[in-house]
Symmetry: C2
Subunit: 460 residues, 2 copies
């Protein structure tokens, strides 16, 4: 047993932990930064589905340590068994004790496995953000599968389906709700995604509740998925991808307050309720929605990294004021050339929250003239508060620029842009790179036109 010392101890080496470490090492260069994580080799979380298709291997999705080391931080492989808040120490599985000044919990999330029978059978798996696990999955489990059922039609399920079908595997997606992606998108986008998947031969089962996973004659390996009120599906593999939950085991043992969402309670600077020297970032930390102040369940890498930046800058005093009021969902993905993305509230979410809303739409080619090569249509829908005309969110169906268009909408939401702000905004346009008119501006113009027609029907 050794006694070690660091200034900043970060538990967990995913996007939140690594970004906290990098930022802390940059902003407090005289402080020692140590990241402890169990994974010898970490992977890039959002790249995981692509291991099984586009990338063709786990080695292509490694998350490097280089940025942390370059910034002056250190990394050590291990598991923290316990933390003594008073003594400001942590105990490793090796028995070593680490003394710290600032502690950052970045313990991530764990897959939610539904309480049904058969989830322990061979051929049933979920996604773990661990190189060794994924590599075994890629090289041993997946090659034995001919027909795969994916339980859960969210981002992971949809992306994994489109990748793994490229290996010649027959894929079924099973979703409890009436549509895939329904938690994140409005119906038109969900339907476009479903169509695109079906074109690839993927079979979609919606309004479908899984009752049990049934074994083959040996009793060991999964052979059927039993769905309420429907014929059972014959499969030889099942991916469970119905969501994740904050991993707060250590935080609970430490006696830290959790929020209603199940994540560790944090203030705007990611500090715990109990001790301003103890922080939490990423999937294990509570997030509140930018607009509603309710729990926001955006357990995604970009949000985790954003929190890591905030914590990293402010470990030793509030060096950078936090200017963001909370979490904004900013998501995008692509299935076989159809990209789809969302920032802020969807129309459905805004209506459910009770916001009176104003909608605007635009359809434009993503290059101009539309005769330029590789031109795809961009559909944009924006949602404004009908009262204040503040931008609440927007959705894009488009091509290669969809991710950055959604980021522009995300920035506009977070800067509290209004429809008049956007209507008088100047954007660039170039034939090879963009539409002639920015989709966000065109959709805003449409919204203002509807607004004006409603508010002043008699003005001519």
């Amino acid at each position: 047993m050794n006694e070690l010392k660091t200034d900043i101890l970060i538990i967990g080496g995913g996007p939140a932990g690594m970004m906290t470490g990098i930022t802390a090492a940059q902003f407090a260069p005289h402080k020692q930064v140590l990241v402890i994580r169990p994974e010898t080799d970490a992977v890039i979380p959002c790249g995981i589905p692509y291991i099984f298709g586009t990338l063709g291997g786990t080695d292509e999705d490694m998350a490097g340590r280089a940025p942390l080391l370059a910034a002056g931080g250190k990394i050590q492989i291990g598991r923290i068994q316990s933390v003594d808040r008073k003594a400001r120490t942590a105990v490793l599985d090796s028995g070593d004790i680490i003394h710290w000044e600032r502690l950052v919990l970045a313990t991530g999330a764990e897959n939610f496995i539904p309480p049904i029978s058969g989830t322990q059978l061979e051929g049933v798996f979920s996604i773990q953000k661990d190189y060794q696990y994924l590599d075994a999955l890629f090289s041993k489990v997946v090659p034995q599968i001919k027909t795969l059922a994916i339980i859960g039609g969210g981002f992971i399920g949809v992306e994994f389906a489109d990748e793994i079908r490229k290996r010649g595997i027959q894929v079924h997606i099973i979703e409890m709700l009436p549509h895939l992606m329904q938690a994140a998108f409005d119906l038109d986008a969900c339907e476009a995604v479903e169509k695109q998947l079906q074109k690839q031969g993927i079979q979609i089962h919606t309004n479908a509740r899984v009752e049990a996973l049934l074994p083959d004659s040996t009793g060991k390996r999964v052979a059927q998925v039993q769905i309420s009120g429907k014929d059972p599906l014959s499969v030889d593999g099942v991916l469970i991808a119905i969501g994740v939950r904050p991993n707060v085991h250590l935080a609970q043992e430490m006696g830290l307050t959790l929020s209603r969402s199940g994540g560790i309670w944090v203030d705007a600077y990611q500090r715990s309720r109990e001790d301003p020297a103890i922080f939490a970032v990423g999937d294990c930390a509570h997030k509140q929605d930018f607009f509603t102040r309710k729990a926001n369940h955006a357990l995604i890498a970009s949000q985790a990294a954003a929190e890591g930046r905030i914590a990293g800058m402010n470990l030793y005093g509030l060096r950078e004021l936090r200017h963001s009021a909370g979490s904004v969902s900013v998501y995008a993905s692509e299935i076989d050339g159809l990209a789809f993305g969302v920032a802020g509230l969807t129309q459905h979410q805004a209506e459910t929250e009770g916001f009176p809303i104003l909608i605007g739409e635009s359809r434009l080619p993503d290059h101009h003239p539309a005769s330029m090569p590789n031109t795809t249509e961009i559909y944009c829908r924006v949602i404004f508060s009908a009262e204040s005309l503040q931008l609440l969110g927007g959705q894009i169906l488009g091509g290669a620029t969809t991710g950055e268009l959604v980021n522009t909408i995300g920035l506009a939401v977070q800067m509290r842009a209004t429809a008049p702000d956007l209507a008088s905004m100047q954007f660039g346009s170039q034939p090879r790179l963009t539409p002639s008119l920015h989709p966000l501006i065109a959709a805003t113009g449409d919204a203002l036109q509807r607004h004006f027609a409603q508010s002043h029907p008699c003005v001519n």
Copy 2:
């Protein structure tokens, strides 16, 4: 001679005029909108260079009338000879008189032809935004050219060079300044563009002042470009692309006030000084820079369209407050896979204006992991005011998303985002669509780190 009547008369059918017409027809549906323009068939201005390469023909770059007609506007081909402000009438070249309630000047710009000898020779041309002119250029003039000199190394010159070399034409670019694109970009971007053009076999002559264009033995056709202090270049074609000037002939005859920039003086709603019923939009109208309030010479289609939207919404009273404080340069282009863009002030411009500045940089692959297909590096530089930390501008060298990244920076500039705003901003990331970290956020982090190290050197 007929007497006609319209509510809104728009003179000019380029991006500014058409956008004014479309917006006016949408926001004032009971008013008649009439656009008068000389071109039977208009082209998309920023698409012009691509006619000569990628598009392979003028017919592929037509600007449709459909959006104007769909909105309820009308278009008529002709030239306005004179305007009587008092009588509120305009006279067409046909002799017809048009009565109007609101008049919008969208007369565009004309090419600046330098006062040197030989510009009238055969084989010497400039770019006119007119279908018949361009079609003759494409089908008659260009096929006779083996060696082309382009005078002017701005966007038009550079894009035209890269397109026309695809026809097997040997291209020279002649630029007076030490670098191509120098008015718009900092040196590193200029040098990257020069390298990319040279890789395509294009010859670049910088610090080169053209003294005269010399004829061949017949005295009719251009044969040489005489450059100060250098050997003459043998050519059989010359494109003059050294810039444009506001076309204000009609405005001057009408007695409207011009600004120091040479454009028609307009207020924030594009109204003339003399008469709130007379507007000017686009290249013919004065623009003031967002930061410096000096004349901004961004005579580009996206700016013109932005002004058209403002005017179109506010012809009959200030229905939409203008929220933008002035013109922000937002430009992008691409040469053979290298895209480059800028929004707001460059480092050089900011320093020249006397702003104490803070710089930040980032380099990231545009997909993640970098092993994803078609991955290009994105270089981002951001410039903040060192005093207020307000974002002054940014530049991108990258791939297919460069145009939209520059638009995001442009939005951040216009929303007056500060470095702390951006540092706590949330963005989305997705392997196929974006970097793992937004280039603007990464560069902002770099800037803040430098700022913190300078401001608080002793904090550890």
